[in-house]
Amino acid sequence: MCCPGCEAVAQAIAGRGLSDYYRLRDAVSGRMASTSADDRLPDDLSVYDSLALQSRFVREVAPEHVPDAAGPGPVQHEADLLLEGIRCTACVWLVEQTLARVPGVVRVDVNYASRRARVRWDSSRSPFSRLIAAVRAVGYRAWPFEASRAALIDRSERTAALWRLFVAGFGMMQVMMYALPVYIADAGSMSADIEQLMRWAGLVLTVPVMLYSAAPFFRGAWRDLQRRSLGMDVPVALGIGVAFAASAWSTLAGHGAVYFDSVAMFVFLLLAGRFLELLARQHAARALQHLARLVPETAHRITGGGSVETIPVALLKPGERVEVRPGETIPADGPLESAQAMVSEALLTGEARPVHKRSGAAMIGGSVNAGSPFTMRIERVGGETALSAIVRLMERATSERPRWLDLSQRAAGWFVIAILACALASGLAWAWIDSSRALWIAVSVLIVTCPCALSLALPVAMTVATGELARGGLVATRGHTIGSLAEATDVVFDKTGTLTLGRMGLLETVIFASRDTAGSLALAGTIGRGSEHPAARALAEAAEAAGICDPEESGDVRSEPGMGMEALIGGHRFRLGRAGFVAALHGLPAPVAWVHTRDTTVWLGDERGWIAAFRLGDRVRPGAGEAISILRAMGLRIHLLSGDDPAVAARLAAELVIAAVSGGATPAEKLAYVKALQHAGARVAMVGDGVNDAPVLAQADVSIALRGGSDLAQVRADAVLLSDSPMDLARAVRLAQCARAVVRQNLAWALGYNLIVLPLAFSGLVTPLIAGIGMSSSSLLVVLNALRLRARHGR
C-alpha cells in the first residue's frame, strides 16, 4: 500500500466483497507495467533524446548540490513537463515521487494549478526520455512543455514593470508620511533635528525608487545620448534626476527645501502610465502572435498497425498520417485522406463558416475540424507550413520601419531639444522672478511637455491596425502597406480571376419539359454526382448547394468519355452531356437556349425529349459586387485590367459595374496603364495573384496578392489576402483609412497638448502633480485611441 488513503480504500473495497476489482485491474495494468519497466523504453520515446529536439525545451542549469551523491553532477538540465491526467493532489504526489526516484533527478516541483512539473536532473545519469517513461509507467502522460518565447518575454516584461510600479508606489506613500509633518508644522513647532531626520528618512526611501523604479528612464536616456539622439526619456530623466539631486544636496547640507515626495510621485505616475501602455501594446500585439500559437501541442498519429497514438506535433514527419478529431486543430499541412471534411479556417482567413473539403484537398495547419473525424497525410511540417510562411511575412512587416516612422522619431528629437531649451529658459527666468520656485518650474516644464505621446502616436496605431487586418484575412507583409493602402485612389484588379472563382459553376438554367428548374437540377446533380468531369461536378455542387439533391436516389450511371453520361433512374433512361449525345436518345432537334455564348452548355434529356439546358461558366466571387460598390462609395476608382478575352472581361465588368475595363492586355500594356494612372496623380492599389505580373505589382503603390493556392513563400506583394474574399479587401481599405485617421488624431492631440501645456508650465501654473498626471494621461490617451481601431472592427 502506498499510503493510508489507499489502505482505507482497499479495506472498503474488500469489506464490501468487491475484491474482484484487483483481479480485473491487475489483468489490465499488469501488461502495462511489464512493458514500461524502468530500464526499457518504448521506441517512440527515444526520439526525445535527440539533441536538436531537446534544445527546444531543455535548459542547461548551474549544478546544484545533490545530498546523497558524491558531489554535484557535471551537467544538470531543467525541463518543464506538461502533465495529463492530474486530477487531485494525490496524483501530484504520485508523479512527484515517481520522478524523484528516477536516477539523477535532483528536484521535482509539480504545480497543481498549471499541471506542470519542473524537473531538474543530471542528464549524464538519465536521458530525458526516461523521465517521460517514468511518468507514463504510473499511468499519467507527460509532454515536454515548450512555452512560446514571445509569451515568456511578455510575461517577464509585465512582471518587471509591475515591480517597478510597486516599489515606486510603496516608496511614494512612505515618503509622503515623512513629508506631511514638515508641510503642516507651524514654524518653530518642529525641532531642526526632527526635521533633518525626516529628510534623511525620505532620502533613504527615495533611493530605491530612483535606482530601481526609475532605472528605465535613466537607461533609455543614456542609450539615446550614446547614439547622439534625443529621445523622450531624456527630459524625464533630466527632470527627476535634477529634482532628486537638488533634494539630496539639501539633505546633506542640512538646509534648503526637499522634494522627495514629489520625485517619488513623478516616478510612480510615469510608471503607471507606461504600465498601462505596456498592457495595451501587448494586448494589440497578441493579434499578431495568435497565428503562431495556432499549431496544437499534440497530434494523433496513425501507426503502421492502424492504431492511433498521441505524439507532440514537433515529432510529426512528412508522409505520416494523422487523425483529426472534431474540434481539434489540424497540426500541419497536407492532403485530406477521408472522403470529406468540414474545416473552419476562421483563424487564418477570418471566414467563420466551415469550408467543405473533399478527399485530396489541401488542409492547412491551424484550421479547426468543424465536422466529423477525418484522417489526413502530412506533407509539410514546422517551418515549411503555410502558417509559418504567413507568420514570417508578418514578422517582416512589423520589423520594417516605414519611412514616416523614422521621420516622426526625428521630429520628436527636435522637439526634445526645444523642450530642454524651454526648461532652461524658464528656470533662468524664474531665478530672476522668484528663485525658490525656479527649480520646480523647470522640472515641471521638462516632465509635462515630454513628447511621449508624439512618438507613440504612429507605432501603436500601426501595430493595432496590422493585427486587426490579419484577423480580417489580409496579411500585410511590408511596413508601408497600411499607409499606402489608406492613400490609394485607384484599385486595379489584375486578371479577371481576382474577381471570379476561377472554376466552373452553374450560371443559368433553361427548361423545356414539364419538370421545373429545381427538379431538372436535382436530376442533373444525381446523374453527375459520381463523375470527376468539371461540368458534372459543377452541376452536382449546384444541386447540393441548393439542397435539392436526393442523396438516396442513385441510378445506374454510365459515362461516355467526351460525350456525356447516361443513367437509368426509375426505369427511364436519361442523358446528360453534349447536344448531339443527348439528341441521339430521342432524335429531336435541339431547341434554342442561348443565342450567343462562349460558355459551356450541358444538355439534359430522356427518351421523350429535351428536359433542360445548363449554362456553366466562371462565376463572380461571392461579395465581389458588394465589395466594389463599397470601394466606390469610399471614393476609389475601380479598374479591371485583364489579359483575357475582351468580351469576357467586358461582361464581368458590366456585371460588377466597373467602368474602366481593358481586356486582352499584355503585361507591357498593364504596366503602361498603371504608369499612366500614376502620372495623372493616382495612388494605385493593384490586386493580382502575386506570382505572375511581378513588374506591374512592383510598379503599383501597393500590391495585394490573393492566396489562391499560390505558394505563400513566393509572394512578392505588399499584402496577401488570405480569405480570397473581395469583401475583406474592402474592409481592409476601410481599416487602413481608419488607421490613418487615428494617426492624424493622435498627432494632432500630441502636438496640441504640448502647445497648450508649455505656456502654462512656463508661467508656473502647472504643479508637479499636474505635470505627472498630464504627461502620463496624454500618452495613455494616444494608446487608447489606437485601440479604438480594434473595437470598431473587433469581432
Binding site: Q97, G104, N111, W163, Q174, M198
Partner: protein
C-alpha cells in the same frame, strides 16, 4: 518626542523589510500555486524520496 529618533528610522527599516519579504515570496514562486501546497500537507511523505 525623543522616541521619534528611534521610531522614524525604525519605520524606514520596516518599509524596506516588507518590500524585501514580498519580493522574496514572489521570487521563490510562493504565489504561483495557491492551491497545491494547502493539499500537499495532507500527503504522508515522511520518508524522504530518493535523490532529494
Amino acid at each position: 518626542m525623543d522616541i521619534l529618533y528611534l521610531l522614524i528610522p525604525l519605520s524606514v527599516v520596516l518599509v524596506l523589510l516588507v518590500g524585501v519579504v514580498f519580493w522574496y515570496a514572489l521570487k521563490s514562486g510562493q504565489l504561483e500555486d495557491l492551491e497545491g501546497p494547502a493539499l500537499a500537507i495532507i500527503a504522508d511523505d515522511d520518508k524522504p524520496p530518493a535523490g532529494r
